[in-house]
Symmetry: C2
Subunit: 155 residues, 2 copies
DNA sequence: CCCATTTAGTTGCGCTCGCAACTATTGTGA
DNA sequence: TCACAATAGTTGCGAGCGCAACTAAATGGG
């Protein structure tokens, strides 16, 4: 990283303002969105992500490893998260008949109904907390900025 | 997703692009910054925040409750986080002589040295992952956008 | 065809942190 | 003054998740 400890390139005013506004906001924003989802639909945003991804997958099922990659979870983390969804009946596990190592996470009708009920409320929350605070121009700038950051991360 | 609910105000293309770019980026970004800090200075970003805040406080000490509010931690969460910092010698606890209920978290010389060593490397990481990916104009737009979002959260 | 390697997933363990209950101290109203 | 409320902090417990070790199944080089 930095090889010269003597002269650090500290952030200037503009850089600091961007950085501070970002880190001081994302925690509260995520907390608010999570609280909204918990209150309106009794689920965590993690569970919501699982249901969304499964609902968009062919036959409403995916391999565990694909799901883990999509959700940025380790295999063990995904196993535990699915345990909860299986117990409440939103998801079932099926062994793939093409590859007996893989478990398919399958969205149940009950899980789909839960997602359908939760989605409009979640969208309203995202609007209230995020979208409604931004102009169209700001949304376009923001999308460009974060896309740029994300591309930098994957080098 | 649900096409049967006509009352829901789903996100349009611009809104969706802003939202997706945001949520798909912040997880990876935080993970990268945390990994950098762990590798360069053997500390978590949570511990780093504590040291920064203490170093900027009068006499390098603060009341636990003020620290908890600043870091968005519950009292119990802060107690546990300080436990680690106390054990490694970066922070000590002192009972306030004005109010004997309050514990003061005090930054030790060793903790201060650790922060001074870590800060340039952390700034370099923030530059590499965040600042360097943005133009000056993007930084200004981003600061305005997140300030607006944060103000919305605190109503 | 076989055995080493790779891949998928689960489990034990540890870490972080929130909630509820608890102690200790300070503030307040009759 | 005294009882009760408010405030500061710690602890037991449990949820969520990463790491390392493990089993089981597929794959590939000889």
């Amino acid at each position: 990283m930095s090889r010269t400890d003597e002269k650090t390139n500290w952030l200037n005013k503009t850089e600091m303002a961007a950085w501070i506004s970002f880190i001081e906001t994302i925690g509260d924003l995520q907390y608010s969105l999570d609280s909204d989802l918990r209150e309106s639909s009794d689920m965590t945003s993690g569970d919501y992500q699982v249901l969304v991804y499964l609902s968009e997958s062919p036959d409403r099922r995916t391999r565990m490893c694909d799901l883990a990659a999509q959700l940025n979870l380790t295999p063990s983390g995904l196993t535990r998260r699915l345990d909860g969804l299986v117990k409440e009946g939103s998801v079932t596990r099926e062994v793939s008949n093409e590859d007996r190592r893989v478990q398919l996470a399958v969205l149940t009708p009950q899980g789909y109904r839960k997602l359908v009920a939760a989605a409009p409320l979640h969208v309203a929350s995202v609007r209230h907390r995020f979208i409604d605070r931004l102009t169209t121009e700001q949304m376009k700038h923001l999308a460009a900025a974060f896309t740029s950051i994300r591309e930098g991360l994957s080098e």
